[in-house]
Amino acid sequence: MPVDVEKIVTEVSTKDIKTFRFTFVNKEDEEQFKYLPGQFAELSIFGKGESPIGIASSPTQPGYIEFTVQKAGVVTSELHSMEEGARMGVRGPLGNTWPIDYLEGKNVVVVGGGFAFTTLRSLINYMLHEENRSKFGKITVVYGARDPGLLIYKDELQLWEKRDDIDLNVTVDKGDETWTGREGFVPAVCKEVAPSSENAVAVICGPPVMIRFTLPEFFNLGFSKENIYTSLEMRMKCGIGKCGRCNVGSKYVCKDGPVFSLAELDTLTKEY
């Protein structure tokens, strides 16, 4: 599907993470691109290839889709050199979603680290939307980055901060002279915030080291493996379960994932 780059926001002080807003060239494509938080799409630049990226916008924001992309490989480097008004392609939506139906009627704890906050942001915006907010219980968010300059979606964090229907806890590993917020690693903040596991589901996304130390905190709080969800990443090409590289055991991350509960991950091999 051809899209136009409508807006580019440089998210971080290191300038290597940008959010790209795309609008569809064809109205039919926009209608076809029905997605839910947690899904991803292949961003396509002819001559460079495709790159699978999580969708950072929420379907409650019609008219455009957004992706937050770190400059890393061939496609993402080219993307970072593009300017507003450029034309490229999007193929999707692909993969499964955060377990929206299952989250309804429950308290939701969202934990994000660094730049892995993108599809979590989609989920938060989805739940906060006026038509959806009443369907979910208490929303607790713990979001951390290494330093203040690396926090993404800063404007949105401020907006959420002002609301009383979301408990937002933003932390940085190490603050700077301008930082007035919380300091501390995500696992420690989760321990301090101590969200109740009563009728609650945790959705966790971040670097492996953060996940490794955060999970025990949630087990201590009484969360079962069925009530902790995360999203996996693997090298992908087709995104539809055919090219054969992103499987973890008999599941394909692209088609059966990327979202898995810890209970599901326990049944799979540890090859990711």
Binding site: G47, K48, A86, R235, K242, K255, Y272
Partner: protein, 341 residues
């Protein structure tokens, strides 16, 4: 189902006639090899051969294919062409093991949720004519161990059986019957010929000596993703990928872009789980960092993951990987070794 008789000396002529009308792929001899080739004017198909060196999967899933063409210049980029529709074609002389591979590949490429239009189009427009293995050609044949049979008709539209002086032709599908009209006047098969085929079929299965516990190792694979055995099989592997390229059921591919000046194409090409780059991520992380994990993946995919997903072993027992592995890694021995653990 129509069952007819084809005189031995007329079969080559019938196939050549078909090739006047439509694309025919058939086994032909090229130097020391028998290969599937497009039958061009004046070429004759082989009707007596062991098996082709290349698996016929490439007629549905080519080694490289252009998925789309594009134009790219300062004014932007534009899709200029998506591939043309496939032509009607006949794939002649497929061994039953290779024909079964199409049914296995259909699971992947004709999945109801994500249908692969390139593959499905070619598959639908191609009629498969098989040649049953009255004499299973190699000592490395092991189709009977992986749910196959030297007379299997899975994936076949027209099955040919060499009865000695003539061929028994079974027109199994509507596609096969449609081709019957183009084959001239073929006499109906008599009961004696059909009985002879049945006898040959049983005898052929008996002749396959290589036995592998294809299904029986599944419970062990379910439980032993981590096991010292995985440290042994890859030791001599050169990671050349020959096994995966010759395999009728391996379906992994890569997608790349090639641009020359303004013109470009997005290409799909066969890839191999035997290569380190296959799963290498941009970050530098590789979930399958050594040949050990890659071999485990290959074996698990064929004998466990595919079974989990489609209730079928992703191996047809053709023996190509056994014959052509430069360091003699034998998948039959690996499976047998696992069954003894």
């Amino acid at each position: 189902m129509e069952t007819r008789i084809i005189k031995k000396d007329t079969l080559i002529g019938i196939v050549k006639n078909l090739s006047e009308d439509m694309m025919v792929y058939a086994p032909v001899r090229e130097e020391d090899n028998v290969l599937f080739k497009i039958l061009e004017k004046g070429m004759e198909p082989l009707i007596e051969f062991d098996n082709t060196k290349n698996a016929p999967k490439n007629f549905f899933f080519p080694q490289t294919e252009t998925m789309m063409r594009y134009l790219k210049n300062e004014r932007g980029e534009k899709l200029t062409q998506v591939p043309e529709e496939a032509q009607d074609a006949v794939l002649f002389g497929v061994r039953p093991c290779d024909a079964r591979s199409f049914v296995l590949l259909d699971n992947v490429f004709n999945d109801p949720k994500y249908r692969d239009p390139y593959y499905v189009d070619r598959r639908e427009k191609t009629t498969v004519i098989s040649m049953a293995c009255v004499e299973p050609p190699y000592t490395t044949c092991f189709c009977t161990s992986v749910d196959g049979h030297p007379f299997s008709t899975e994936g076949v539209d027209i099955s040919l059986v060499d009865l000695g002086d003539q061929f028994l032709a079974e027109f199994l599908t509507s596609k096969g019957e449609a081709l019957l009209a183009k084959m001239g006047d073929l006499p109906k098969a008599d009961d004696a010929s059909i009985a002879k085929k049945e006898a040959l079929s049983g005898a052929a299965a008996e002749k396959i000596r290589s036995k592998v516990p294809g299904r029986a190792i599944k419970p062990w694979l379910d439980e032993n993703f981590e096991h010292p055995f995985w440290d042994t099989i890859h030791q001599s592997c050169l990671a050349c990928g020959t096994c995966t390229y010759l395999c009728p059921t391996c379906h992994c591919f890569d997608i790349t872009d090639e641009t020359k000046k303004e013109d470009g194409k997005r290409i799909r090409s066969w890839d191999s789980c035997m290569y380190w780059l296959f799963t290498m991520e941009t970050s530098g992380h590789n979930p399958r960092p050594s040949q050990k994990e890659r071999w485990r993946q290959r074996l698990m995919h064929k004998f466990k993951y595919f079974v989990d997903n489609y209730d079928a072993i992703a191996c047809v027992g053709c023996g190509r990987c056994v014959m052509y592995c430069p360091v003699n890694i034998d998948i039959r021995k690996i499976v047998q070794d696992i069954s003894k653990l």
